[in-house]
Symmetry: D2
Amino acid sequence: MSDLKIAVLGVGMMGADHVARITSRISGARVVVVNDYLTDKAEAVAAGVPGCRAVGDPLDAIADPEVDAVVIATPGSTHEKQLLACLEHGKPVLCEKPLTTDVETSLAVVKREAELGKRLIQVGFMRRFDHEYAQLKALLDAGEFGEALVLHCAHRNPAVPPNFDSAIIVRDSLVHEVDVARFLFGEEIASVQIIRPAANPGAPQGLQDPQIAIFKTVSGKHVDVEVFVTTGVAYEVRTELVGEKGSAMIGLDVGLVRKTSPGSWGGQITPSFKERFGQAYDTEFQRWVDAVARGGTTGDYTDGPTAWDGYAAAAVCEAGVESLNTGLPVEVTLADRGSIEGA
Amino acid sequence: MSDLKIAVLGVGMMGADHVARITSRISGARVVVVNDYLTDKAEAVAAGVPGCRAVGDPLDAIADPEVDAVVIATPGSTHEKQLLACLEHGKPVLCEKPLTTDVETSLAVVKREAELGKRLIQVGFMRRFDHEYAQLKALLDAGEFGEALVLHCAHRNPAVPPNFDSAIIVRDSLVHEVDVARFLFGEEIASVQIIRPAANPGAPQGLQDPQIAIFKTVSGKHVDVEVFVTTGVAYEVRTELVGEKGSAMIGLDVGLVRKTSPGSWGGQITPSFKERFGQAYDTEFQRWVDAVARGGTTGDYTDGPTAWDGYAAAAVCEAGVESLNTGLPVEVTLADRGSIEGA
Amino acid sequence: MSDLKIAVLGVGMMGADHVARITSRISGARVVVVNDYLTDKAEAVAAGVPGCRAVGDPLDAIADPEVDAVVIATPGSTHEKQLLACLEHGKPVLCEKPLTTDVETSLAVVKREAELGKRLIQVGFMRRFDHEYAQLKALLDAGEFGEALVLHCAHRNPAVPPNFDSAIIVRDSLVHEVDVARFLFGEEIASVQIIRPAANPGAPQGLQDPQIAIFKTVSGKHVDVEVFVTTGVAYEVRTELVGEKGSAMIGLDVGLVRKTSPGSWGGQITPSFKERFGQAYDTEFQRWVDAVARGGTTGDYTDGPTAWDGYAAAAVCEAGVESLNTGLPVEVTLADRGSIEGA
Amino acid sequence: MSDLKIAVLGVGMMGADHVARITSRISGARVVVVNDYLTDKAEAVAAGVPGCRAVGDPLDAIADPEVDAVVIATPGSTHEKQLLACLEHGKPVLCEKPLTTDVETSLAVVKREAELGKRLIQVGFMRRFDHEYAQLKALLDAGEFGEALVLHCAHRNPAVPPNFDSAIIVRDSLVHEVDVARFLFGEEIASVQIIRPAANPGAPQGLQDPQIAIFKTVSGKHVDVEVFVTTGVAYEVRTELVGEKGSAMIGLDVGLVRKTSPGSWGGQITPSFKERFGQAYDTEFQRWVDAVARGGTTGDYTDGPTAWDGYAAAAVCEAGVESLNTGLPVEVTLADRGSIEGA
């Protein structure tokens, strides 16, 4: 009945946006604590939110008795320690991807949560909350396409920050398509191959862009993904599912207004992930807040991707980075889920 | 800082949806009082909202000292009295259309508000908050189409309740297009003509459906509207603006998923106004709540259509009902806005 | 078996294109005679076609014993005399619209042909042969939309020649939509009203552009047409048919290639009627040639719009020009078709 | 000036359609001889075409002095002998794909033609004449997309004849995409890999369907192709070109009429290659006939894919069939074009 009181760790672009989201765009929650390694930034954000204070140490923020739940939007390298602290304090946490930065620590987090017997961790794969993906999944589950057979994905960014290297493309961009494939097909990815086409002349020297990723799922379904992050065009995310009884495409990005101008017809195209997935983030947060409210009863404080989903994505990406060097398929080996979740 | 405390008058389909909207989908407001002439219904709705009670008389609800602002979702015939009460108590009010049921009382409300020197009334023409209309308006105002010249509108419902008669089509359906034309063109409508084509064989006996409305604005711009409320198809609202430098269409309703099935391609079409304009209602309410919060300072408690907009729409619809009988153009005469607002 | 030998009267832009069409793009016919009041032009065209000669007088061309059939692409004012000559010589003729320049002479031509008891005249309303209109008509006739109720048309040109006046817009542009409405609905137009919106600032001084035409058919169906001939955009022809069981739109002009460029998606839009209706002209001519080949047996040498269609269009346009001045609906009065065709 | 006199070898579905095409849909050519191993069929087809006779032996048809040029629509196994006969008699020939059934004999044909110093052979890759592919190629060559980087293709048939096996999918279906990739990129394919996803449950037992083909061109460009020939849906051919400055898609198959029906919007989808590529075949034949007419002067009797294009496609498909077994990339080795064409 009373608002869920949230600590937001990390108030960079994403974290600050989450603070605004919780404060102004969803109901049932408010931000009471913010934290950032840049303390000035945290103070400034706190000053703009009624009843919110800045806390200097993320672990103090997690432990704070006023805090009911935690949002992690800090750099990935700090996630492991923060997630484990949330688990120790029994606090529900919505953690931006990646779960952690490597497979081993991701698995450790999965196991620790399993030992507690409560699902406290949700990973921020927000596409599952996007109207288009959700409707595609619903149609698929309703049998509209028969058995799903093949998935074609394209993930295009107009540009990337200067620090991006070829492996970051796998870990930061491709990782979303990993979750999409696992979400839509409902099964794990068994192998991954990264093909290196001739690079975009406009890409920074040394960056392998575009990349083509090929996934094979455990039942043999095929997924291909074009990841191209220096297109200079727009933020384009498109998925085509091919099934036994028909196919479907999302992300054609037809826009709101169809214009006719001298010589041409068409519309505007989404400039960035904020326009494309703003609704998905809002929905993700509202539904997470609602799930946390129910969690005391159910023991399940998530409404979406779990720690396992974060771990599995990490394992596929690690295999992808290996394949980036050889161009050959690399097998993905996962821990035995049953034995862990039965723990 | 603390939530705006709202009374919702009328908890039929629309009012109940507004209660849920304020409670669960927007931030900064909550419902503390509900009222309905069906007291059981009001009690039931109140029971589902923490901290909310049912009040038996709408005027008591308006007067209630706990109530900061009012939402009117009662039948149109009760609006005049309730609006005047809100004005007397100085309470901001979001009133579902129509403002009142006739031109005379609408004008009386406009004048009373003007005398108070505060804008307390917002009328629920929610399309102005729809992403598509908003973007079309923004492009137009940015000069993208040069001068606007012509507007083609289609308003189609799959079916209407049994009580609908030919004049209700004008007052309840066409009225939305009246506001759209005034909003996009930014000027008043000078005359209206209703053409009566051969009726849909599937329409109830005696119902003039479809109807074609022709508006001429004060500067001579042309608007035509097809209103067709027994299509059996879906809820379709489409607008094409033709300008000096190009044209634009909204409402093609391309849907989220483009499917390919044996023999055909396409997608789903919006079944009702709830799917089509759900986002618009949410945005309308969030922005109204935010405007009310600012109103103490600005004296303007609205973020959208004003009482004047409600009055002007009533005047156009009254002329439309007259033309429905003759098929000839009927002039629309409005009061002198300047002398009223200067009051 | 041997090629149909054709005389083409008038080798301006349209006529010269028809010569090329018969020579290189359809089978079963060739041009043996060309005529133009500019004899040099006729000589030049003839020189480019093997076995073709220029003839100085159009009536000599029609009478020429080598000539099996005639294509009239001369100015409208000369059509009456040329059509009557074709009828006297019993030669099939494909006549570009208008049939003649006024209702009276059009009717005279209709009556003369009826007296001969053979259908020798086809009028060049080529849209009936366009793939899109033909498919829309086929779907309608197959019952896909139930009863047709309303038709919305838009006819837009980027620009018109300097001699265009407001009445020419009715006679030359609107006339195509007259035939489309008669073709799709399969009934006559009973009244026409031309509405004069505020003019496009970019239109030549004194030109009423855009114009809005309203047709009512004999059974009461409604048609509205936006004719806008100085858009500066492209050649756009769009038709939406609204029926009892659904609606359909043609002419969205989605083009062949869907491009994604920085900031926008879309495609090219058709620059002129040649790109839009080139296929329709080819199909019209091929089918006319085939119909003429069958005509000796059937007595019907046409595969499309007849002299009556040309006459009816003239009657609607004459009423339209009258309405252009008053803005009021003008009734269309047609001769009694049964008594003429029974002649 | 007089019509090109053509012999059509093979009057099965394709050959009979070509006879109709030459006779009724293009100008400047007629069929004087037909041949088929089913002599009754050849007689029947000849009977329907004025001035056409059936000849029992394809080599006699080629040698016939009345015959100016030859169309080969016989089974692929007979092509080598027929093509060599055409070359010996110096007769232009339009040969349906494949050029021959293996790489070695294809190369032999290429070399024999090169020795003659005339381009007499055109291979029937008709997609190059399709409006959509032609416009995409034109935009690409005009620099609209900058450098071409990646090509995504989908080739879907509703069903295939019972004799289809996994290798035939490569040779008969994939081969079209081989030519499309070579045509658009303007370079040879250096390696091919066939991935075998889990098969469509609806496909015949043992048929590897769908298949995913990956091409790498000599400059490193990436092409992926989904070939899926038992979709049960329609004939779908889609190509997306991704370039340095934007991307473009053809084959979305939006159809002619956009329908709105209860609950859905959309249109019809192309049932077979005849509707999809009928125009391309007509254009191909008209332009070939025109090219042959010019050939006496230029020594080049083709207007499209040459014998080399047939040979290169055969080499890629042969590598594809090899990869079908292993799933690994297979290099494509081509003869030295310069030394052959310089011969």
